[in-house]
């Protein structure tokens, strides 16, 4: 009863803990959302994590990207995140890939994941990522701006795709600086991690539903999608 996961094991069933352990999850984008999502998954016992990002840690990232500190400035995010995670939990196996989803997405690794977490910061990349998925993999989409965010689960064989939900976002250029408050990043990311676990243990909440998180008045609303 003293291992890292013992308190979670009191809550989840044995079968569920086994599913969590055996799941292969890809976290795409290791910025604000990706840092928290990967940390939660690692701490909960997901052994196999794939991290993808093409960014370098920069000063403004420290305001909301939980795995990085001053000493990481200038490092590749995927490398710094991997190091940080392995310092916290050494039982997971982390593969980190420095890549641009639009250009050289490692589809050979994505195809081995059970689920993918979209922690990207622009829609062009999100659509490129979605293209690489098979019909059966789950994708947890999250996005944040200001003090609000949204989350949904995409499974091509069961739900609308991101391209269906956001058809008019296709042309929106990648915005360099998105206004965002730190709490909404952590809250949204935590809920995304919850939905990842939900999908792993076959109890997802956001299949054909979108959750809108608004910290301005602490409201959480679900919109039906179909």
């Amino acid at each position: 009863m003293n291992d890292i996961y013992s308190r979670n094991a009191l809550f989840f069933s044995k079968e569920e803990m086994r599913s969590i352990k055996n799941a292969k999850i890809a976290v795409v984008g290791v910025g604000g959302l990706g840092c928290v999502v990967s940390e939660i998954l690692a701490r909960m016992g997901v052994v196999s994590l794939l991290l993808m990002d093409n960014g370098i840690v920069d000063m403004p990232d420290l305001g909301r990207q939980s795995l990085y500190g001053l000493e990481d400035i200038g490092k590749r995010k995927v490398d710094a995140a991997k190091d940080a995670l392995l310092k916290k939990v050494d039982t997971c196996k982390i593969e980190s890939v420095f890549c641009d989803v639009n250009k050289n997405c490692p589809v050979e690794l994505l195809s081995q994941a059970d689920g993918i977490v979209d922690c990207l910061d622009n829609y062009e990349s999100r659509f490129a990522l979605e293209e690489c998925l098979s019909d059966t993999q789950f994708l947890i989409h999250g996005g944040v701006e200001n003090d609000y965010g949204q989350i949904t689960t995409v499974i091509k064989s069961k739900t609308q795709t991101l391209k269906d939900i956001y058809p008019n976002m296709e042309s929106t250029a990648k915005e360099d600086f998105v206004a965002v408050s730190t709490p909404v990043v952590f809250v949204t990311a935590s809920l995304m991690a919850q939905e990842v676990i939900g999908n792993i243990i076959k109890k997802p909440n956001l299949v054909n539903e979108m959750l809108i998180v608004e910290l301005s008045d602490f409201s959480f609303s679900k919109i039906k999608l179909n």
Partner: protein, 602 residues
Amino acid sequence: MANELLDVKALRVNLTTGEIKQESVDLELVKKYLGGRGLASKILKDEIDPKIDPLSEANKLIFANGLLTGTAVPTAGRYMVVTKGPLTGTIASSNSGGFFGAELRKAGWSLVIIEGKANKPVYISIKDSDVKINDASHLWGKTTDITTDTLVEEFGEKNAKVACIGPAGEKLVKFAAIINDKARAAGRTGVGAVMGSKNLKAIVVKGSERIDVVDKAAFMNAVKSKVDIIRKNPVTGEGLPKLGTKVLDNIINQSGLYPTKNFQFGTFEYTEEVSGEALVNKGYLVDNKACYACPIGCGRDVVLPNGRKGEGPEYESAWAFGADCGVKDLIAISDANFMCNELGLDTISAGTTIACAMEMYEKGYLPKEDLKDGPELTFGSSESLLYYLKKIAYREDFGDKLAEGSYRFADSYGHPELSMSVKKQEIPAYDPRGVQGHSLEYATSNRGGCHVRGYMISPEVLGVPEKLDPQSLEGKAGWVKIFQDLTAVIDAAGLCLFSSFALGADDYAELINVGTNFGLSTDEVLKIGERIWNLERQFNLEAGITPAEDRLPDRFKDPLPDGSQKGAYSHYEEMLVEYYKIRGWQEDGIIPKEKLEELGVA
């Protein structure tokens, strides 16, 4: 994206003239041979005279990616080195995994055809379409690990991949390997010696374009469904990831097929000491390691108590240094494997050649003075194992004789019958007496003694796809043909043979079709395999390797002295007649003109 799956491009590098050409491969040829072993064998046969000296300037060395190499298809990280082999004189194709092939494909290249001979040591650097021949004087003589690190540093790309030779390739050791990613080997048939004969030390590559397919959505669905099948299969989903290929030690030993002391026995009393389980229990295994796009991860990441680190050993390698040499020291066995990777030697031929020398020494056919100052070549001596490996790689003293391979070595002392080889290449870790189909496979392999041209152990021992009686002869010739043809397809597609524990011919056909829209039936896909097989055979016949060489060493006509198959011996000659017939060949083993025409090989 410019890098399309069906845009099959070849890089032709002439080391004599320094000329570098970029060519496109005709799509019709791709439909007939897919890629890798198939396409490169076709090109080699068209472009060289099969009778040439393999180590002469006239030979060509082709690095060939399979059709699907570099895509997301599970295990699509394999490439093949095709050339005329110096060990056997046959067409030689040697397969390797890791990441080199996929990187080469992502740089846009399906094939690199090396011609001629450089007048001084060189290496080739490839960054997408930017290709250069560079001086390699500073790398000559260096081991493969140092060569790889140096080149990655010089090239300035952290994720560049390297395939290179070690001292063994430079010294033209007949069973020198090409090593990529430090620990993955295009091991067999001496392809490293051909590379050395061309003064080519290495190829370093960095690619940046992912490969696009026609219907991406359908492709990813097919890919994912095969990944799931592989992960759910007990062999590829559990056995191989946990124990690697060394999952086999105990199975094969208990089946009485674990060749011991140069195939004098079929069981090894210290198997428990050297098995895959021992590697785990002794705490040497740190982690498993996967090649490109591989959901299996059979690679071993090992740290020995003496501080030595590396990958492996694989089942075959550990057997060659272990049971075959009578050695029970797992540390020495693992170390021997690391040494072979560093020196650029084929582990199977290296271990079995030393085993052959040990038998000759113990039988008194090998005078002590020939060993110079070296340790005595007695079975069980791990000291002599490590000592002579190094001597072989540098061709020093007695090592120079061993560097010729067991057949030429034993023959030079008047005892060729003690070389456990077919077509001069040493046979690997399954005694053919206890598995009749596999013994026919050994006898008929197009590249000499080899277990990966039609792995009959799978049905005859492991029961995949169905369990066959290993001693039964009935139907075996047909099984061998199908296994050989299907294996040629898997090789030509650029996939790992281990995927076939979980996938069948229909799955491979689906993967090929979904990526290409070729619309091939499963039968048509197997026909491609048959075409490749016949093309290779025809090359060998034209090279002067007659059907008389479709034979096993005489030892295998004697009964196994021990183990669960005690008393069994090989009946390959009886099956050979049926095999030729099923292949549509003449009774004398020659391929008739009609067959060649039917397959479009002529």
